[in-house]
Amino acid sequence: MFKRLSSELTLIYAALFGVVLLLIAGAVWVAVEANSRQAVRAEMTSSSAVFDRIWKLRADQLQQTAEVLARDFGFREAVATGDDETMLSALDNIQSRFSFDTAMIIRPDGSVISLDDELTGPADPTLLAAVTANPDASGVLTLGSTTYQAVSAPVRAPTLIGWVVFGQRLGGEQLGELEQLSAIPLSAHLYLKRAGQQWSALEDRPGSAIGIAGEELAARAIETNGDILINMPERNSIGGVKTLQVFAEGASSAGLLLEYSLTMNQAHYRDMLATIAVIGAIGLAALVLGSWFVSRRVTGPISGLRAAADQLTRGEVAAVAVKGRNEIAELAANFNVMSSEIAAREQRILHLARHDQETGLPNLRALHEALAGLRKIAPPGNIFGAIISINRFDQIRGAIGHGLFSRLIAEIAKRSLNSGEGLHVGRATTGTIAVVFTAQSREAAEATIRATAQAVSRPVTLDGDRVDVMVTAGLACDAEDAKAHLELLERAEVAVEQARAQRKITAWFDPAAYGDPATTLSLMSSMVHGLSSGELFLAHQPKLDLRTEKISSAEALLRWRHPQRGMIRPDAFIGMAEETGHIRPLTDWVIDRAIADQRIFQKAGHDVTLSVNVSGRLIANEQFAERALRQIRRSGARLCFEITETAVIDNPKLALDVMNELKQAGIGISIDDYGSGLSSLSYLRAIPAEELKIDKVFVENLGNGNSDAFLVKSTIDLAHSLGMKLTAEGVETADVLAILRAMGADMIQGYFVAKPLAVNDFLAFMQSPDAKATSAI
């Protein structure tokens, strides 16, 4: 629900507080409401009592005054003797002294004497009845249109001779005074009812605000003959109704309604509630801030932990600041321990990944990283890589064992490292170490590596035994020959092989001498295509039989005229074909082609035995041999297989079986390039060859009077003694021919006779052998 725990905590606390606040407010409202009503009722009751008291005080004052007057001897005499002037002056005197609103004397015969002319004359029957019934009457009295609180007192002399009646007006003014006496804001309303009439409000104090409701209430109060306190929900007020004593009992009724508006009362409580609401809002804000602050304190470290965990996930170093001693602090501390342990473990793993476990030396990966580092600070032309390879490391390792050999490598690496400044040294393969470094020039780089090689090529003492160490170093520059598709150190490794081939201690990588494997693959692909498209063809180099002085045989040499690259030398693709497995179909094609060419020659009347070069690897291949035999038998061709000496030695037993089979099938076997490999006389004896071709390096120098002449002569003798003919290749001069003829060589091959010739040229050559071929191939 929430993304942040602190928000969630804050909201929960705020909601709880809000609920509590609402409950409190509700409780306060209910209590206040009840309390308010109760207080109002109490106040109404008390106001009612106050009113009673005031009413009585007024009545008593009137009554006492009336009695005082009624008992005054002179007044009584005046009344008894019918002295009206005296009576009126007495009334006037009293009225002005006590501020009574009305005063009168009623005589038993019903006549009224009053200062008020309207009252003078026959008494109101009700009034007369009232005083007759109760000479000390007291209560609400309406005379004409005016309502009074009135009292009467009998005048006795000593028998009853009349009544004195005093009245105080009851009107808006008096009710207003009554309202002001109350402690609470009341509004007072007076209701009257005369016999046979409806209830009505006091005329100058209309009860319009109360209306019929108030009058009905007054009626109810009178009817229940008591004071009542009632709710007036429609007016949101409480009303207290009092029955008032009336002057004329039974003839009229009067009621007083004291109304208290709850609206006004509740306004105060609304203010209080508003205060509570404001306090609540402030409290809520404080709580939200507080809980936010607290939860931030709680969740802040958690957020920190989360961020640190994210960092850790990204593989960065992560640490959390530990504050306090609570559980989260412990968690943070544990996290930090975990984080540092992970970092340490990662360091170990990285170390393992970058170092050779056997020797603890940096491995190739570490060197590549070092190289990447160098590439950032130096141009490619100044970055160099070298592979220092221990010569004959198999033998050394076999002799001293793996354990000591590791120490040897480590020692060599140490010496390498110490041999110059800024060298990055690591183990490249089991028997090699690699050095990556920068130098100002190729010459400086070579000097560095020479120094290293020299420093390394000293005997190493391991467990008291001296081990002689000789190394070969290959060098490569980062800038050169991107076309080789080899990494710097791979090129350096190739350079090691190239150095070995050149019998040098150090050598630069030679891209020309190294066939690019990628190019090789595409070359093989075009070669296969060239076989069918006629780009490849055979050139035949005639062999001169010195016995017959005729051309009776020729060597079929493969030629490739590439549409884009021109003539491609066999060296460039034969070896490759051997490596990539294309040599089999290629040789099959050559045999088929030789058979076909031989037929062309036959048709032209030239019977020529064609020699085909067969790779030593194929001669041990029975499927190849079977196919070759089948083709030759079917065509009846006469072919000879030239096999290099080294190849034969590679797979002696099987090769011998196959060669014997070929010989039985009438296919001649020829040992090619004799003298360039490591000769084994026993194999030479075992091979069922009929021809031995001495390597041209011996033949080319024959005329120079060196030891080659002796070697050639003894080889010729060796061949003859083993029942083989000897062919000399590379004959280019008549002098050499003369020497070979004198030595007893059987056949010669070379430019002196003819260069390799395409089919047509060959045919032309055969027509006139003395004429030298015009176009050698």
Partner: protein
């Protein structure tokens, strides 16, 4: 007081025996049948009829903040003494028409004498003591009597034949506090019962 009344009654009786011989016994009761004392029963004087002789020395004493007797019958022209038997002073007055007088403060053993010359009722009061009330019925007929505690009043030697009698009580509710009744007086004793509503002042 009773002695004096009897003296008066005897005197009246002397007149009656001379010309007439009828006695009237009037029993005055309240409506609930209780005997009503202090009611005055009289037979109104007739023109040319006998007049009562004035009596001197009738007494209306003040004792214990009360008048004694409560009701006194006085033939017109009689004098009434007002002896004060209390230790304090009284201020006796009457505003009654024709018999208006005022005896301003007088003390113990002081005696005031008033002559009542007008027939009617004189209501007596004391200006100092409101509760003191008494009535003097001034009559111009020889036949007047006051009911006793047993509510009985006697008129002696009343003329025979149909006669009007008035029964008066100061607190009677009837008009002029008087109930009038016509009776036939025969020789010997004629007995009449008169019912009078009473409303004493509160």
């Amino acid at each position: 007081m009773l002695g004096r009344f009897l003296t008066y009654a005897a005197t009246s009786f002397l007149f009656a025996t001379q010309a007439w011989a009828g006695d009237i016994v009037i029993r005055v009761t309240t409506p609930d049948g209780k005997p009503l004392p202090d009611a005055v029963v009289l037979m109104p004087a007739k023109p040319g009829g006998p007049k009562p002789a004035p009596i001197d020395g009738l007494k209306m004493a003040q004792a214990g903040k009360q008048f004694t007797p409560f009701v006194l019958i006085a033939p017109v022209g009689s004098t009434v003494e007002f002896p004060n038997l209390d230790k304090f002073r009284h201020h006796v007055y009457s505003f009654s028409k024709g018999n208006k007088f005022e005896l301003e403060l007088y003390g113990r053993e002081e005696k005031r004498v008033i002559t009542f010359k007008t027939t009617g009722v004189a209501a007596l009061g004391c200006n100092i003591h409101d509760q003191m009330v008494a009535f003097i019925r001034v009559v111009d007929t020889p036949w007047a009597a006051k009911s006793g505690d047993d509510g009985v009043a006697r008129l002696t030697a009343a003329p025979d034949g149909s006669q009007r009698i008035d029964v008066w009580h100061p607190y009677a509710t009837a008009k002029d506090q008087t109930v009038t009744q016509t009776i036939t007086v025969s020789p010997g004793a004629t007995t009449v019962t008169v019912v009078l509503g009473i409303a004493p002042p509160s």
